[in-house]
Symmetry: C2
Subunit: 193 residues, 2 copies
DNA sequence: TGTATAACATACCGATCAGTAATTTATTTT
DNA sequence: AAAATAAATTACTGATCGGTATGTTATACA
């Protein structure tokens, strides 16, 4: 007994996600959002709540997509060493082709909001924890297959790779020379040898 | 033939630096700044220019202080291994004692502004390059003294440590468990062994 | 000591902010 | 088809934004 919604919630949330991802929370205005989402202001509020709630929904969506993307990338290679090398190389090369380098939405939020909002502190921390578990499972796959040295500490290495990935992703935002980026991860990847 | 300035430029710039460091560029208003600096709005504009220029001055000041702090911390130990361990341990423990964890002003700026403003892209990149050179000199000191294995690649290791430091600093903003943080840097520090 | 000058304080500017009240339009159910 | 209801549209709110014009006060120099 009412009018049907004219927009696809997932599609407009996707647009909001991209905008928040690129510009951050504070620098994104409601006017920016209505323009990018193609939806009027009151419709946004009725569908997603206020700006912070919309941001949270966008980040949750990002984290899901990002986690799936990481899992896919790591499964793509039977060699675990090759999988991680490809993952890190992807961060270096993908970043170079277009301005601005928006990096990782979750990392951006860790910097901008996590220290000031417990909700985002938890949300971002849990995503890192999840990524660490995915990394650990991948390393254990390499241990079981015999590709990796049996004395490797899978848990420590997984967490170390998460930290290196965060550091590399952030560093790429300052557009360092390709050689600098390559050198900076060489030893990280050597931990797998 | 004029009135003398009543405030200490370095002191009020220090106050601005702390505020931008904690809250970021967008979330800090001119009203916040006047309150924290104890200086009226027109005086800020006459002394430092507009908001972006004040932010730039604050970041330049931070980078100087931060670089000096890093140099001091690394010189404090005759053992290079111990110096780097102390540096990384400091990032983990210092972060835990107070909310919010404001992390590193330069890293915050790399995330918030570098992708959207060439001036800050350069400013933040150069700071990372400088830190890498300081790290490299420290590693070379350990090579010359014989503390470190002679086959260590000082340049690669220095850059790797910069990336790990960035990653750890950012990760601490989500307030991970102490054990998680300790584990995540264990292998990084093992690169010195 | 008077005058020029710059730092001070107050008050204001138009623009934009996040959020909403009021109205119109469309659709489902009775 | 009529009534009920929710979505869409328009236009608006008070608050705050970054930045500045204006007037006042203090100090250095002639």
């Amino acid at each position: 007994m009412a009018r049907t919604r004219e927009f696809d919630e997932q599609k407009v949330l996707d647009a909001a996600m991209r905008l928040f991802w690129e510009k951050g929370y504070e620098a994104t205005s409601l006017s920016d959002l209505t323009a990018a989402m193609g939806v009027q202001r009151p419709s946004i509020y009725s569908a997603f709540g206020d700006k912070k709630e919309l941001f949270e929904a966008a980040l949750r969506k990002y984290n899901q997509l990002h986690a799936a993307s990481i899992r896919t990338k790591l499964k793509k290679f039977s060699s675990v060493k090759q999988a991680f090398r490809s993952l890190f190389e992807g961060i270096i090369t993908k970043a170079g082709d277009s301005r601005p380098d928006i990096g990782c939405f979750c990392i951006n939020t860790m910097v901008e909001l996590a220290p000031h909002d417990p909700k985002f502190e938890v949300l971002t921390r849990e995503h890192q924890l999840y990524l660490a578990s995915v990394f650990q499972e991948t390393i254990e796959r390499g241990l079981e297959s015999g590709e990796l040295r049996p004395d490797i500490q899978a848990e420590d290495l997984a967490k170390n790779l998460v930290v290196s990935m965060i550091g590399l992703t952030v560093m790429m935002k300052s557009r360092p020379e390709q050689l600098f980026a390559e050198q900076s991860i060489a030893l990280t990847l050597s931990l797998l040898d």
